[in-house]
């Protein structure tokens, strides 16, 4: 398990062990990875983050078109694996969780532990660093590589 922000590791670790999740990914709504568990390669991770944030964006828009509140959770139940995709608000903005778990794990159980993880993440969020740095194109690649090193340890 690896995270860009170390304070995420505690709540995510508890969630993964309690829910017996095979894969877990926390990301921002723009698809930037915050933490991951179980992903072996950066390609899978980045593709999953992009697809997960895209699904949340498109289902939220679908709900808006129908005059509903955005769907908080999108579930797919396969024969061997199930996918749970849900968004939640933190002091650092809206985040998305993508969780892959065994099909014999109850969705209700994943939801209960997910809600607890959200509460723990919100409680553990440290205050924002004072001044936001302007993101420059020249820094982008260096920051991306630093994030990948943090997420994969290389």
């Amino acid at each position: 398990m690896r995270a860009i922000e170390p304070w995420v590791l505690g709540p995510l670790g508890t969630f993964v062990s309690e829910s017996q999740a095979r894969l877990a990914l926390l990301m921002t709504t723009s698809g930037q990875v915050v933490a991951q568990h179980g992903f072996a390669g950066s390609l899978d991770l980045m593709a999953s983050a992009a697809l997960g944030s895209g699904i949340i964006a498109s289902t939220s828009e679908l709900a808006v078109q129908m005059g509903w509140e955005p769907f908080r959770i999108v579930m797919h139940h396969g024969s061997r694996r199930a996918h749970f995709l849900g968004w939640f608000d933190t002091p650092r903005g809206r985040w998305i969780a993508l969780v892959v778990f065994s099909a014999d794990t109850k969705l209700g159980l994943v939801q209960v532990f997910f809600e607890r993880m959200v509460e723990e993440l919100v409680a553990a969020t440290p205050p924002e660093p004072g001044q936001k740095k302007e993101v420059l194109a020249a820094d982008f690649e260096r920051e991306l590589n630093a994030s990948l090193r943090a997420l994969f340890g290389r």
Partner: protein, 116 residues
């Protein structure tokens, strides 16, 4: 409560010492209908009851005893009672300490037979 199970759940919650009754989907552990005392959260009870019932069914099945008809967990402060029903549903009751468990068990088994 406006679900079709409302009258059934209310008749159980009228029994002395009952803190809450739920109809739970066994496959995904979600609440189908609930009648709970204020302050009780149904989703954790539903999720954990469904997980428990599934594991016990695996245990009794693998030991050749068939599917369980009733689960009774007695704690220091009360009891959790689970009656598997047809259509992949569970009838779950949370009872306090001073509850006529025999009567509750009979009522739950009778209702579980009608639960579809």
């Amino acid at each position: 409560m406006t679900t079709p199970y409302g009258a059934m759940l209310d008749s159980l919650t009228r029994l002395r010492g009952i803190r809450g009754v739920l109809v739970v989907s066994m496959e995904d552990g979600l609440v189908v209908a609930e009648s709970l005392m204020a302050g009780m959260k149904g989703s954790p009870i539903a999720a954990l009851s469904a997980t428990l019932a599934t594991r016990v069914a695996e245990l009794t099945g693998s030991s050749g005893h068939g599917l369980p008809r009733f689960l009774h967990l007695q704690g220091g402060d009360g009891a959790l009672l689970v009656a598997p029903a047809a259509s992949d549903l569970l009838l779950v009751a949370v009872a306090g300490r001073d509850v006529p468990l025999g009567l509750l068990r009979l009522e739950m088994l009778r209702m579980a037979e009608r639960l579809t």
